[in-house]
Amino acid sequence: MKPQVNDFSIHVATVNGSGSQTANSTLLRALFQMGLPVAGKNLFPSNIAGLPTWFTIRVSEKGYIALDRRIDVLVAMNADTSVDDIARMGPGSLILVNEGVPMPSIPEDRVLHRIPFNKLVEPLVPDAKLRRLVVNMIYVGVLAWLLGIEETEIDRALQAQLGRKPKALDMNRQAVRVGTEYGRQHLGKARFQVERRNLTAGRILIEGNQAAALGAMFGGVTFVAWYPITPSSSLAESLQGFLDAHRRDPVTKKASFTIVQAEDEIAAIGMVLGASWAGARAMTSTSGPGLSLMTEFTGYGYYAEIPAVIWDIQRVGPSTGLPTRTSQGDLLSAAHLSHGDTKHVVLLPATVEDCYEMGIRAFDIAERLQTPVFVLSDLDLGMNIWMSEPFRYPEKPWDRGKVLTAEDLERLGKFDRYRDVDGDAIPYRTVPGTPHPLAAYFTRGSGHDEAARYTESGDVYRRVMDRLAMKYESARGLVPSPVVERVKGADVGLVAYGSTHPAMVEARDILAAEGIRTGYLLIKALPFTREVRSFLEEHRIVHVVEQNRDGQMAALMRMEFPDLAGRIRSILHYDGIPIDARTVVDGLRSTEREEVTVR
């Protein structure tokens, strides 16, 4: 087997709650510090302690950061899953097994090392409970030896994480050393090797939910209400952390924000609408089940025209589904969330950078359009660690939309809350507390006329609904444009959105290497901008790749472009594990076998 440099995946199988997070994070950071593009994915159960969990680290000199289902290096620590974990390993792979865990019989062409992890850690840590945590650092040391990860970088990564706890740092350092020493004495180098490159200097590692929280902070959020739900809780919690650190007066410690942990998601969105109506920049974050609970209020927000930003960190549904697995299953429900006719604006971040930028922009769009705006991230994007260019400081000031002050009202002498004055279907609003007799209006979900007066007139109702539909047209000019890659001679197009994007980048390279050229459209928002239609027109066949069962984006496209619906195919992935490039390539081959023209 030939050596494989800077291109492989490590899979660590442990038990939830065993403290492997620091160990895995140390590996990931050390590789990143060596200038190597990495991606880390945590595949974890809905459990605090005791159930199996896996962490995958991918090293890719080419910069691919999607999941790679081909595992090259396995660390099998978990006795409950070791038989299956090991059986899945392919020819040429490297397997480290904790001595004593059950094993299947495996072919000769795998390299297998039985390592007495428990015996190695025993003399180091007298306390049995602590030992269970520190044992993970032993495999870090062994891997460092086997793969050629620089010890100084391992140490730097350890310091970054444990620098504030000198005792823990010291103990973990020793454990790494014991592992490395064991490797040096007993094991030969692996054929998987890392070599220092200069590919990550100046780049950051961050989770999508942290990025979203940063966006919200620099977007000027002033009110947040949320209810704990995996995988969105870390968004609100990091936001609380950032705001406490950077949005309090240095002297008085007074905050320019309020965060409320609500009693449920209905209350969370209610508080957001109340705050936004009263003039705050307000947001919430949730996941599928919470989104369902927000249905009535977001319909109200659409119809009564109240801004709101709602982050949905999607997980597998319906119902509780698989709460710790990823999915893009909420697209259709978010797009139409309400009773009655409703079309919502939906932003679709594909990267952590998008999470940050849309974290800012969602507010501007919501306030400009006076409507709830959904941002659909997912567990993979939100809770996993991604490499990114550093985020840019917003160049533009904020857009708070059409809000009239007392001075405006004095000058205008007239105010009708729901009148389309500018011809863009977006009316003007006032906020409570505006000191002018003309400022007040009555907000209601029932039929209302241009002056916000109650009416049950069918004509007036239709007029309001038609204006709201027109407002959705105005939204096309405000939402982020898709990324379009036109490829000369490619009559097959690929469409994706959200966290599917990294797999698409890699899949298109694989296809190109095989002579299959593809155009690419990365959709960033609903409503569709004009590029979406053009892309469909420019390609004979368009494959929409998404992480749900029903092809929800494809359905929206067929609905909006019935004349081009015949060109649309679906490649679907919905097992809760992040999509990988192979799935895209195989999916395209199987649906296109006869249609693809190989040039």
């Binding site: 950051i204 320019s256 924000f257």
Partner: protein, 351 residues
């Protein structure tokens, strides 16, 4: 200024007339108790000299929740969704603590679909006058029992309720509400000073007003008929109100005849003894009084419980004094250096 002197042209302390506090014409059934409450709100707001632009009226769904249209037409209003007014109030208050919030709800809106939000609003002590227009039935959907219907009361169609009523005042006291009152729509003399005192309270003020439904709950056999409530109304005390901006009048009371309570803004509420002395500062006694009243088929009215000590919602968040709603960009977008510093912390890549 007093209510008795006000006429259509009389002005209050901020130069507004009674008409300036009215809203559009009610579309409720003629004789509805809710309209009487609306009248008391208008009068109380006028007499208190509330600034209309500083008031926001909030409601849920139901007959009661329609009424904010009928008062304070120069204030912003928000007729929200069923049972969820408390969350709107919480958000609005967080955005602008200078707003004076008046919430109107009903027994269906608060005791059934909205019981959860009601409880959590009270727990948080969001400054809001929370009026429950309590008639024991669903009016807009034509006469179904609500969760506050008394055991044994008969519906218009002859059904008898055998479920225990939810007493929202008892709930509020249990959850630490600092201002809990019960009144009767047919007793504006008691209701008005209670409303004015509630305007002055810096926390949630729950005012449960028994308000007979003339269409679906005013028949014989109904415990909430106008006649039955009138007969079983058991006021705890006479309620008076002395606003903070009026010179303190020397009132002569016989010792032990009256209690005086100072409110957040310096206004005072006077409770003049009718029978047994009642101490509204004693939560256990208040709960016992409610319990015994139910056993005796009485509606005790008056200021049931008062505790000014509880901090209003958000005190622990230590928020800036100005409304969050009006903070300029430079106060809410940290400078570029902050982002750069955060980025540097995440920038562990090497070469």
């Amino acid at each position: 200024m007093s209510g008795a002197q006000s006429t259509a042209t009389a002005k209050n302390r901020i130069g507004l007339t009674l008409n300036d506090y009215k809203g559009s014409k009610s579309t409720l059934c003629p004789g509805c108790g809710h309209d009487a409450i609306t009248g008391s709100i208008v009068q109380a707001a006028f007499e208190s000299g509330l600034e209309p632009h500083q008031v926001a009226k909030l409601s849920g769904i139901g007959c009661s929740s329609k009424t904010p249209t009928y008062f304070l037409g120069r204030s912003h209003g928000f007729n929200s969704v069923h049972g969820r007014m408390p969350s709107i109030a919480t958000g609005a208050y967080a955005a602008n603590r200078g707003l004076r919030l008046i919430g109107v709800s009903g027994d269906g809106d608060s005791a059934s679909i909205g019981l959860g939000q009601f409880c959590h609003l009270v727990r948080r002590n969001v400054p809001l006058l929370y009026i429950i227009e309590n008639n024991g039935v669903y009016g807009l959907t034509k006469g179904q029992f609500s969760a506050t219907a008394d055991v044994g009361t008969k519906s218009k169609t002859g059904r008898v309720n055998d479920l225990m009523p939810i007493d929202l005042c008892a709930f509020a006291i249990e959850l630490g509400c600092g201002f809990v009152a019960r009144s009767f729509s047919g007793d504006p003399k008691q209701l008005r000073p209670i409303l004015k005192a509630a305007f002055s309270h810096n926390g949630t003020a729950v005012v449960d007003v028994i308000s007979p439904c003339v269409t679906f709950n005013n028949h014989e056999g109904s415990t909430r008929s106008y006649l039955n409530v009138k007969e079983h109304d058991a006021p705890l005390h006479d309620v008076g109100f002395i606003p903070h901006y009026e010179a303190i009048a020397e009132v002569d009371y016989e010792p032990g005849e009256s209690r005086e309570i100072e409110l957040y803004d310096g206004s005072r509420i006077t409770l003049t003894k009718l029978g047994r002395d009642y101490d509204p500062g004693d939560a256990v006694n208040a709960l016992e009084t409610l319990h015994r009243a139910r056993q005796a088929d009485k509606f005790v009215t008056g200021l049931l419980y008062f505790d000014p000590a509880k901090e209003p919602f958000g005190t622990e968040f230590l928020v800036v004094d100005e409304p969050l709603a009006s903070l300029p960009l430079e106060r809410v977008r940290p400078p570029k250096e902050v982002l750069e510093e955060i980025m540097r912390g995440l920038m562990t890549g090497g070469g």
